[in-house]
Symmetry: C2
Subunit: 343 residues, 2 copies
């Protein structure tokens, strides 16, 4: 327990070579003779040697470690993104270290510090809301590449480029779709009023309605299934004229779907619903949930690629990137509930 961990020197002594040779073996250098390498490896095994990366990092400049700081570990959208990023980086030989800021600006700053101090080569961050300036100042000071994804915590795009989805376009597509399906009064439900994501998703909706000379109705204030169910009840009670809803996300949409069904309104015929994100198992609700689809797995790969390119070429990427959003039309917005037997 208290016994000092063996070092490269102990291994060298056991193998009867110099520390330099052991170091070369550790790093898999081709210059060391196969026979010698084997002896060294045996000595490592018998001494119980553990590589000390801290010591190595003291000399080496780069570590091949990339930090991923996410705002919430419980949102499927975010974890799907994180998984995609991590797997892409892993495939390119970079290790990913993930930290969760849990929507807390102070915690985020702390985790960013820790990562920088541990010597990450680059950062990918989905900023939390709050006093996140600290985090970015720190990153700027450290001078490492950092890409903001999905949310923009710091507007200095010359330092921290921003990648997200083209949510406004998604809003347009979804609203156009609902209009094409014959909807007359279309509401926007969900989101939090002070957040950029909400504004973006809603803007496409507003623009499209305005163009079609329709009056918008919105119910903002929540992002959960519960909120969706609640607003479904409100709509049934007070706004019977609403015959279509574009939801802020899939959760709200599913809540509305359940809520409408509970209250006896037929989703797909009486009222049409389109969600946002397209993360949920769409086919497993009755009816299937339509959505403005954000291909987050692909987005994750793209973000990882942008960061790696930046890291390897040293060239600053373009300050803004918007991934396209497409429309997935399912039963919840397509006339009568389709019989699933057709496919």
């Amino acid at each position: 327990m208290t016994a000092r961990r063996p070092t490269i020197l102990d291994v060298a002594k056991a193998a009867g070579v110099s520390k330099s040779t052991v170091s070369l073996v550790v790093r898999g250098s081709p210059t060391v003779k196969a026979e010698t390498a084997k002896q060294v490896r045996d000595a490592m095994a018998s001494t119980g040697y553990v590589y000390n990366r801290a010591a190595a990092n003291l000399r080496k400049s780069s570590v091949g470690l990339i930090g991923l700081v996410i705002n919430d570990l419980r949102t499927p959208f975010i974890t799907e993104f994180a998984t995609s990023v991590q797997m892409t980086l892993s495939a390119q030989g970079y290790a990913t270290v993930i930290a969760n800021s849990d929507e807390d600006g102070a915690l985020q700053a702390q985790r960013v510090s820790a990562m920088i101090e541990h010597g990450v080569s680059a950062l990918l961050i989905t900023p939390s809301y709050g006093q996140e300036a600290d985090s970015f100042d720190q990153i700027a000071r450290a001078g490492i590449p950092c890409l903001q994804a999905l949310r923009q915590g710091d507007p200095r795009c010359d330092l921290f480029p921003f990648a997200s989805f083209d949510y406004a376009q998604g809003g347009v597509l979804a609203t156009q779709h609902l209009i094409a399906q014959g909807a007359r009064t279309i509401a926007f439900v969900g989101g939090l009023s002070h957040r950029a994501v909400t504004a973006e998703r809603m803007s496409g909706y507003l623009a499209t309605l305005s163009e079609a000379r329709r009056t918008p109705v919105s119910f903002v204030g929540g992002v959960t299934r519960g909120f969706g169910a609640e607003i479904a009840a409100t709509i049934c009670a007070d706004h019977p004229e609403i015959d279509a809803v574009l939801c802020f996300n899939d959760q709200v949409a599913q809540g509305m779907l359940s809520g409408f069904m509970r209250l006896g309104r037929a989703v797909g015929t009486d009222v049409r619903i389109v969600g946002f994100d397209g993360m949920e198992d769409r086919d497993q609700t009755v009816p299937g949930l339509s959505a403005a689809f954000c291909d987050v797995a692909r987005f994750g790969r793209d973000c990882a690629a942008i960061l790696l390119d930046w890291l390897e070429t040293g060239e600053h990427p373009s300050p803004l990137r918007r991934a396209p959003v497409s429309l997935l039309a399912r039963g919840s917005s397509l006339g009568p509930i389709p019989e699933e037997t057709s496919k």
Copy 2:
């Protein structure tokens, strides 16, 4: 870009003090005079100093860093667990670093290596299936505390204690509940046959049925909503006698709920469903989903506490811990569908 990062020596020179003093300031020592400390801090700011933890770790033994290696970042159950662990550790002043093995034994070994080499003080791991022996040998070699959670990858409980839920008890509770609700033929649906978790969850079901002299029926082979929906169809077509199902997890249960509804069987009356985990928004399906409830947030806190205790006292924790599973009864298993006017 190429400019060398400033070190404490640069700061010391700028502040007109010695490196030792700067080091003390960095670590917040109370022995240094307030005035001096301020000068040093100013110097740090003006030089753009970044603390080099790798260098510090070379001297210090402990780092206050705890590694969390999880098998899947996309399972809500796991991410909820990770969040809980992380927040508990954070509250105790430990930083958590998370890595995703994505159910890949080799990747897990790699991430475990990386964490050990980075000097984590302890590890908490939800092992992936596959050749995970490497990982544990490595941990044993490093001689750091390691707790296995939710899954047991290595049976050496004298080295790696194991904490999980009492799934068998959950199976018993759920099955007893279904019997008490008047179910006659109860099926078990979901899970993968070669996994311990499936066996455990099913064992409580089997034992209870055996005691009640009923014949078990099980449909194993999947853990998703899709699988649940599929089996719901199978049951409607070929096993009309089945009037209750205990599902491997909530996803399967929700799939079955949708599936049964789609096929016109009234969930809660014609057929009763109980899920497992209790993670989903239970009240937001119609009807609400009953479940054998695993309080994963609490479990995460407990795991973190076990690990911290081990770390701080040096005393090996008990090799096995099973957290209790309780029953949450909702509409899906409770007679007529509540909140719905019987028509």
